[in-house]
């Protein structure tokens, strides 16, 4: 047991260093003397475009998510349960696919042009912000709705009993309580915008991500590393701002969530209005693009389905499987170590190893490819094994998905179940198998599913590792978008990606239905 104990402490430490190594490499590469470089990058068009896009997407996301979350929290209307789930559907469509679909629908020679004889010039920051917000707003919607559920009616009633009107109570009590959730939701959305490559590149709007990918070459990595560092700095600043704004404001209320009886029922035109407010984001973020994509795919699937396309699906599965195995392994190592040895430093390193989820994929890619280009001097064949490094990059990026799912499930399994098994004459490893691993089965499955979806959709990171004749569905979808004469064929892999993205949402739907 003593040797076991050291292994349980040593392995997470080694894993954490390995997972953080790309970020440590980037930090070590910073030329602190060239501080003017940061200024130059921040003052460039890249920054302006990136920040405008972040701001625009945040504004549209507020427009889509805030009214719907408030209606969901305080009113009851026909179809409320169904809309609460439908509102999440846009999460299944990656931003680059929605941007591509709308360009095909609204742009010159697009569907609208053919039907009504006019078109809209959508390749600008305004429309891109709208399209990106239409698929990213669920992050804000989920966080705000959950937060409002806990800020129950008793607070409004308390304010009313103290002389406030309902509107004033909402403004003075509920809104300030919801600010941490709104900020956290917006930060998630802005991170997705920063991480985005496909949509901005397809619309020809240069941002940090497009520039890093454009400048990256194994022979000359310095410029790409420099911009990655600035991007890392922007990410850290956003988190710092979030921390400062939310700090001390995450009030926990003791009230339960059983507010169903207190919901205000909506009837007549008010009911219709509530439905309309929900239908708009669902229509823009899911129904229209999905119908359009399916329509294109139904025309072109014969051109795309061939052995080569099956190989693409196989590649995607192979990569996802590797990522799932590695992520689950490291997630299990971290979460089980904390379970059996709840030391503060162990919790700290486990949490640190999940930082990759907050970082843009290109930054992680540069953090791995940078050192590889140095290693290439001694190991010329190293780039032949790039697929394994790509799987490692996914582990860095998606470690949080597996760790958070496994840790939260393990916390719900009392430690005395393991102890009960030990007291019934079962050794440690057998107890681990019989109790923890068997009870973790649903968490392992859902984490696998989420990683699978994330890997299938992932574009910028995969693009950086792509130049080696190894394509995934996402890459093929993006490549076809860029190819004249094959634009609509891209709908086929895109539809498959969206269908994969729908899997966890369907799972959530059935799980909540069972409850």
């Amino acid at each position: 047991m003593q040797m076991n104990k050291y292994l349980w402490l040593l392995i997470p430490l080694v894993l954490c260093l390995l997972i953080l190594s790309p970020i440590l490499f980037l930090i070590s590469e910073v030329k602190w003397t060239q501080s003017s470089l940061i200024g130059n990058v921040l003052g460039s068009e890249l920054s302006l475009n990136t920040f405008l896009l972040m701001g625009g997407t945040a504004l549209f996301a507020i427009l889509f998510a805030v009214p719907t979350a408030f209606i969901q929290a305080y009113y009851s209307f026909k179809g409320k349960q169904m809309f609460s789930w439908l509102m999440l559907l846009p999460l299944s469509i990656p931003a680059y696919i929605v941007a591509y679909t709308y360009k095909g629908m609204l742009g010159p020679f697009g569907t609208i042009h053919a039907m009504f004889g006019f078109y809209v010039e959508v390749e600008n920051i305004f429309f891109l912000s709208l399209f990106m917000a239409s698929v990213l707003y669920p992050y804000l919607f989920i966080m705000l709705r959950n937060s409002l559920r806990y800020n129950t009616f008793s607070l409004i009633e308390a304010a009313q009993s103290l002389g406030s009107s309902k509107v004033s109570a909402l403004k003075r009590i509920i809104l300030p309580l919801s600010i941490p959730a709104i900020i956290s939701g917006l930060v998630l959305i802005m991170m997705e915008v920063l991480n985005n490559f496909g949509a901005v590149s397809y619309f020809g709007i240069p941002t940090f991500t497009t520039e890093i990918i454009r400048l990256w070459s194994p022979m000359n990595s310095e410029s790409a590393i420099n911009i990655s560092m600035v991007l890392l700095l922007v990410v850290c600043t956003i988190y710092l701002i979030e921390y400062l704004l939310v700090k001390g404001k995450s009030y926990a209320t003791s009230q339960g969530v059983d507010t169903e009886k207190q919901l205000v029922p909506l009837t007549g035109w008010k009911n219709a209005f509530a439905v309309l407010v929900h239908v708009c984001p669902i229509l823009i973020g899911f129904i229209l693009p999905f119908v359009q994509l399916t329509s294109w795919a139904s025309h072109y699937y014969m051109d795309v389905f061939n052995p080569e396309f099956l190989q693409l699906i196989l590649n995607t599965f192979k990569l996802a499987l590797m990522a799932i195995v590695f992520c689950l392994f490291s997630g299990l190592v971290f979460s089980l170590s904390i379970r059996f040895f709840p030391k503060v430093w162990l919790k700290f390193i486990s949490k640190s190893a999940t930082i990759g989820y907050a970082l843009p994929g290109v930054v992680i890619a540069i953090g791995i490819l940078g050192p590889l280009s140095f290693v290439k001097t001694w190991v010329p064949d190293i780039f032949k094994y790039l697929i394994y490094f790509l799987a490692f990059a996914y582990v860095v990026r998606f470690q949080a998905v597996s760790f958070n799912a496994l840790r939260s499930s393990l916390q719900k399994i009392p430690l005395n179940l393991h102890e009960a098994s030990r007291s019934l004459a079962r050794p440690f490893w057998r107890s681990l198998w019989d109790i923890e691993l068997k009870l973790l089965k649903p968490a392992l499955l859902s984490a696998s599913l989420l990683i699978f979806v994330d890997v299938s959709k992932e574009l910028p990171l995969t693009m950086m590792f792509q130049s080696f004749n190894f394509e995934t569905l996402a890459i093929r979808s993006y490549m076809l978008m860029q190819t004249d004469g094959a634009v609509y064929q891209s709908a086929v892999p895109s539809v498959i990606i969206v269908l994969i993205g729908l899997l966890p949402l369907i799972l959530i739907h059935f799980l909540t239905k069972d409850k």
């Binding site: 009392p414 005395n416 179940l417 102890e419 009960a420 007291s423 019934l424 004459a425 050794p427």
Partner: protein, 334 residues
């Protein structure tokens, strides 16, 4: 079977939890390990089970040192406070879990199911049964591997007061036939009264007294034990030839030199005799009466401390009545 714990010490950080704990027990003995919350009794139980390591001391079973053995090799069964039933296994699978011999499995489980009156519940899951049934499954599961010694950690803490009494008797019935050595951890003296032959009182990490419950009740070593095992009145005053001078009044108590040293008198409420009297310089007034079915709790007014007496219902006391207090020397706690 002989079980012995010697010189157990345990610290968490700088805080000393257990210090020099030693006791032993024989086959069929049921020992209650009692003390307030945080006194270290559960830690001691976890050290015996092997889930916690002690800083010093040893644990021996039948003359064999088991202190450094991993939990699954100790032959020590454990009943957990919240039962710790495996939620993904049926009642049958839970009970069968610890049985190593596949030949005897069905017979053994059937025997335990019968003993614990769980017939018909073999194929249901723990979340589908009541609290009392869960308790019986947990006991059957702990007994299944035939442990040399069984540890029960607060077995009734999750049960409401009305059910608790019945379950104590049920547990006693189930343990009785097996001649098993058992250690029960509890903070409720009623558990020890019903189940144990011997009690060990822990206070501030050490054993303050051990012995039969009757012994602890009648002859507590100090005020802590006296108060822990039952209610007690501790009166401050002065012994003299007529009795005990308390609150400028006289409590009738003929006392030899043995009990008359010191200026404190400790007595259980049921050993205080109230004698009806007129208002006088030595009389006490009755402040409140609480009806407790078979007896009454009477609080007598005093300036210094509260005095409670448990008296039979046959006397019709009223609030505001006057009385004199008498105590038999034999009942004074030393």
């Amino acid at each position: 079977m002989h079980f012995e714990v010697t010189g157990i010490n345990k610290k968490f950080g700088k805080k000393e939890i257990l210090s020099g704990i030693s006791f032993n027990m024989n086959q069929g003995e049921i020992v209650a390990l009692m003390g307030e919350s945080g006194c270290g009794k559960s830690t001691l139980l976890r050290i015996i089970a092997g889930f916690e390591n002690s800083d010093a001391g040893s644990v021996e079973l039948n003359g064999k040192e088991i202190h450094r053995l991993v939990p699954h090799k100790r032959k020590v069964g454990m009943f957990f406070q919240d039962y710790a039933l495996f939620p993904h296994m049926t009642v049958f699978e839970n009970i069968a879990y610890g049985i190593s011999s596949s030949e005897k499995l069905s017979t053994k489980v059937a025997e335990l199911v019968e003993m614990c009156e769980l017939e018909g519940l073999e194929n249901v899951y723990p979340h589908q049964i009541s609290g009392g049934q869960k308790q019986r499954v947990a006991l059957a599961r702990a007994l299944a591997p035939d442990p040399e010694i069984l540890l029960l950690d607060e077995p009734f803490s999750n049960i409401d007061a009305i059910l608790r009494e019945n379950l104590r008797l049920e547990l006693k019935r189930m343990l009785k036939g097996r001649n098993l050595s058992v250690i029960i951890v509890s903070h409720d003296i009623e558990d020890a009264l019903v189940l144990a032959n011997k009690a060990i009182i822990l206070h501030k990490g050490g054993i303050v007294q051990e012995g039969s419950i009757r012994e602890l009740y009648k002859k507590p070593k100090n005020a802590f034990v006296a108060q822990f095992v039952g209610e007690v009145n501790i009166l401050e005053g002065m012994f003299n030839e007529q009795g005990f001078n308390f609150d400028d009044r006289l409590i009738s108590c003929v006392c030899t030199s043995q009990c008359s040293d010191g200026n404190k008198l400790s007595v259980r409420p049921e050993n205080i005799e109230l004698i009806p009297s007129e208002k006088s310089s030595d009389s006490f007034q009755i402040k409140q009466i609480i009806f407790k079915r078979s007896y009454c709790v009477i609080e007598v007014e005093s300036k210094q401390s509260r005095i409670f007496a448990h008296v039979p219902n046959k006397h019709d006391w009223k609030e505001g009545d006057y009385c004199q207090i008498a105590i038999n020397e034999y009942h004074i706690l030393h």
